[in-house]
Symmetry: C2
Subunit: 237 residues, 2 copies
């Protein structure tokens, strides 16, 4: 007799994709439900946690099985366990979902699996989703935007080397507003988390900008004491 609520792990998968005008916008991956309840509606990818599987590993598996991609960044978001998450169900169907959120590079995302039942959606224009997934996404979006300011999150969307304009484009897409280029440069240079490589990006229609990279030696205390113990990014390969 199983008297405990079921445990599932779901993952919010963020990336940046160019819109019809070519400017980057924040997008996320959803899957279509093919079973009741909420059959036909879109939902976060997820599933039960295996008995010998770490939480973050389960989230990475969601990501891989849904899009075929690896996370550039992965962090726990929240555990959702309200009694009314699945309306009309009785206690036996109760599921507690531990939700992670992941960033994938925009170049990789362009090559991601897409099908009738797996697709990218613009983060700022979501339809009604299954379960409490609209609330989950509201919160994920809020966390992403807040965290961007005091962390190295933008790296999750970019390649190893990038111009300050590209970095600013990430910030603008995530925050949903334009930033002053001069002030952005000053802010980034002041906090010291990026280093100039000396190389320049050639072939633009204007003065060639310098390429930067993140300074791995700078420790941004993203998660405080949890910083590596729960998200073993480096070990994971």
């Amino acid at each position: 007799m199983n008297e405990a609520p079921a445990l599932a792990v779901s993952t919010v998968i963020f990336t940046l994709r160019p819109d019809s005008q070519g400017s980057m916008k924040l997008a996320l991956a959803l899957v279509r439900r093919i079973r009741k309840p909420f059959e036909g509606l879109w939902a976060l990818p997820g599933g039960p946690l295996a008995l010998n599987e770490d939480l973050a590993d389960a989230a990475a598996r969601n990501l891989r099985e849904t899009t075929g991609l690896q996370p550039r960044y992965l962090e726990q978001l929240y555990a959702f366990g309200s009694l009314d998450r699945s309306p009309g169900s009785n206690d036996k169907d109760r599921v507690v979902s531990i939700v992670y959120w992941a960033l994938v590079g925009s170049d990789e995302a362009a090559a991601a699996i897409e099908s009738e039942n797996v697709s990218w959606f613009w983060a700022d224009d979501l339809e009604k989703l299954a379960f409490d997934h609209n609330l989950i996404l509201d919160y994920a979006l809020w966390r992403l935007r807040n965290k961007l300011e005091y962390s190295r999150l933008a790296h999750g969307f970019l390649g190893e080397r990038f111009t300050l304009a590209q970095l600013r484009e990430v910030y603008e897409a995530v925050l949903g507003r334009e930033l002053d280029p001069g002030n952005f440069r000053r802010m980034v240079e002041a906090n010291g988390s990026v280093l100039a490589t000396g190389e320049r990006l050639e072939g633009t229609r204007h003065r060639p900008p310098q390429l930067y990279r993140y300074d791995a030696s700078i420790d941004l205390t993203d998660l405080g004491p949890l910083k590596s113990s729960n998200t073993k990014q480096e070990k994971k390969k």
Copy 2:
């Protein structure tokens, strides 16, 4: 038959207590384990989640059953689910703990249940605890200190009316350092979350300070979209 990890809810219970010199220090409630593993060591109060019980309700129940108190503030901290949380155990014993943290008023805490197996500990001087509970407390402490700055958390330790000196004492106890009284006053008045009541606290050995209260109409976006769904109501925006 049961192929899912077990689900438990634990609670970090913070309060402020006067030390031997009479100044307030941050303390937390722990219970002694009376079973293996880690028999005899101190640990966070917690237990399995009932099938029809909300996560936050389970955390409040931990608090009530341990100390007899009600939370002034309650927020989810993190879900801990590493495979090696309980060393030497096999997969069948695996437990995923969803940890909450709570604040209780220092006046109520003085009347809390204490026994041989339930006791308060200073937050800055902890011995080796059961399971991964040292890590959990490190993280809880980090979150508490970070959150203090941009929220109304200190209210959780205080009564309805308080002087700015009392409010500052809470900040100093939590942050573990002294703050300039003048600058603290300026900061608090600028952010506008407290209101002067017009009353004064009489009977001190010096000029009577004004009593303040929190302004409930000011919305501090603590949890973003989750701010109220955490406790009970489900409001869609």
